[in-house]
């Protein structure tokens, strides 16, 4: 859903740009707080990963395939600030270097696909973890719901923006229903992919799942007296 030029009128396009710039500036500061002087290489590598992961096609139903958007996944793996920043970088690169998404719509694209997906996805994820027991299963389940909700949330924010500054007069209720319907379907694919990816990282390097660091087991201490001669 990389919006091209001409979809939105000039005021909303510019407004989107201003909001996106503010959001990205906030994320830059947040990421720098989390990663310090590692920010540039780490965020760069994570952005490259998202860029590559978006090229992984996975089968949806016989014949059709989908691909990851990655907002919720990035937020859960590397934290909301770095995650949103990385997705924003990917969108910027796609717009400026690959002509994928209009230059005037760049702000709107960033707001929908980076800020909203990450904000909603991460809020849902952390909210669920707070009420669920501290287990790996909860982390995976929360990832699933977070990703599932994040995609229609982005679609909804798109519809809202369109209501304000869309260039064609369409019946908004119908469009919203259609957009949500389609994006709930896309969200299911996103949810499976996100949850399974988080599960596989949890299995090998649980410390690399930012959103679930508190679920890490504490070190086990063996306080039984040592037997002489070993077992």
């Amino acid at each position: 859903m990389h919006v091209p030029d001409g979809f939105f009128d000039v005021p909303v396009s510019v407004g989107g740009g201003v909001v996106a710039a503010g959001g990205v500036a906030l994320c830059l500061r947040g990421a720098h707080r989390e990663l310090d002087d590692r920010t540039a290489p780490m965020a760069g590598l994570v952005a490259a990963f998202i860029f590559a992961a978006q090229m992984i096609n996975f089968p949806v139903a016989s014949g059709t395939s989908g691909h990851l958007l990655g907002g919720a996944l990035a937020a859960i793996l590397v934290g909301p600030y770095t995650g949103a920043l990385c997705v924003a970088v990917v969108l910027l690169v796609q717009g400026v270097f690959f002509a994928d998404g209009g230059l005037t719509a760049l702000g709107i694209n960033m707001v929908d696909m980076s800020l909203v997906t990450v904000l909603v996805g991460y809020a849902v994820f952390r909210g669920l973890l707070r009420v669920l027991p501290s287990t790996r299963k909860s982390v995976v389940a929360s990832s699933f719901v977070a990703a599932l909700v994040s995609v229609p949330a982005a679609a909804l924010s798109f519809v809202l923006l369109y209501a304000v500054g869309g260039t064609t007069d369409v019946p908004l209720g119908q469009v919203a229903t259609a957009m949500l319907g389609v994006h709930i379907l896309i969200g299911i694919g996103e949810a499976f992919m996100t949850a399974l990816t988080v599960a596989s990282v949890m299995a090998t390097r649980p410390d690399l799942v930012f959103g679930a660091r508190h679920v890490l087991p504490t070190l086990e201490l063996r306080t039984t007296p040592a037997t002489v001669g070993g077992s």
């Binding site: 596989s200 299995a203 090998t204 390097r205």
Partner: protein, 257 residues
């Protein structure tokens, strides 16, 4: 497990294979290569000679622009791709490209499970393959946490679990410490499986393979006993294959199989 009656079809038969990449770069210019059942052959050649391109044709990842490949008599075509991929077991250079599952067990089970194996039969395949490379004790560990040498051995097991007709190894000795190198050589020798070994490591080729072929600029330029090829200084030099310091094949007896 691997008895080879004399009149079987060759494990691998490559005939007049030519290939150009979509960008127009031609990598192979008519390669002929036949490997008999049970033989171990080294594929030598400088960087950019087309070695990887050739390997990717053996199991149909790339398909020939011209010429044919067949494995134990079965031609590599779209229709029998699954059987071809079972028959040709490729161990890639970087074990991290090959191992992606959370545990060693799941990684080794991946191939045979794709072939439809389930339950006890699958479990037995996995155990046997890991046993062949001496890694059975690590079956429940994440591959990510193993040493490089252990990962290389698990990568070999992932392919052995498919009971291949021919084992294809891409730079098997790279990045191994001396002891891991020797241990892998012992394992490969004990397997008694048809093997094609793509390598820069000339001593390793001499140690393991009675016969070698040299690929350069997309054609086979030499084919013969490894010892003879390595002793032909003129031939070696002209294909950027130089023997390492202190290694003199002339002083060695020809190793038997």
């Amino acid at each position: 497990m691997t008895s080879h009656p004399g009149n079987r079809a060759p494990s691998l038969a490559v005939h007049q294979l030519a290939f150009a990449y979509p960008d127009g770069h031609q990598a192979l210019f008519g390669v002929d290569l036949t490997i008999a059942p049970g033989e171990r052959v080294a594929l030598l050649g400088p960087n950019g000679a087309g070695k990887t391109t050739l390997v990717l044709h053996l199991n149909g990842i790339l398909t020939a622009g011209h010429g044919t490949v067949s494995v134990a008599g079965l031609p590599v075509t779209k229709d029998n791709m699954l059987e071809i991929r079972r028959r040709v077991g490729i161990v890639f250079q970087d074990p991290d490209d090959q191992l992606f599952m959370p545990t060693v067990r799941e990684d080794v089970a991946f191939g045979p499970a794709n072939l439809g194996l389930r339950g006890d039969e699958l479990a037995e395949r996995v155990r046997h393959a890991l046993d062949q490379v001496g890694m059975l004790a690590l079956i429940d560990r994440p591959p990510h946490h193993l040493s490089f040498g252990q990962r290389r051995r698990v990568a070999v097991a992932t392919v052995l679990a498919m009971q291949p007709e021919i084992l294809v190894l891409d730079e098997p000795s790279s990045n191994l410490d001396p002891a891991s190198r020797r241990e892998l050589a012992d394992i490969l020798r004990d397997l008694e499986l048809t093997t094609l070994m793509v390598t820069h490591d000339l001593p390793y080729a001499l140690e393991l393979c009675a016969r070698s072929v040299i690929l350069d600029e997309g054609v086979i330029v030499a084919n013969g006993p490894t010892h003879d090829l390595l002793c032909d200084q003129e031939l070696m030099r002209s294909h950027r294959l130089e023997l390492p310091f202190g290694f003199d094949p002339k002083s060695l007896a020809v190793p038997g199989r």
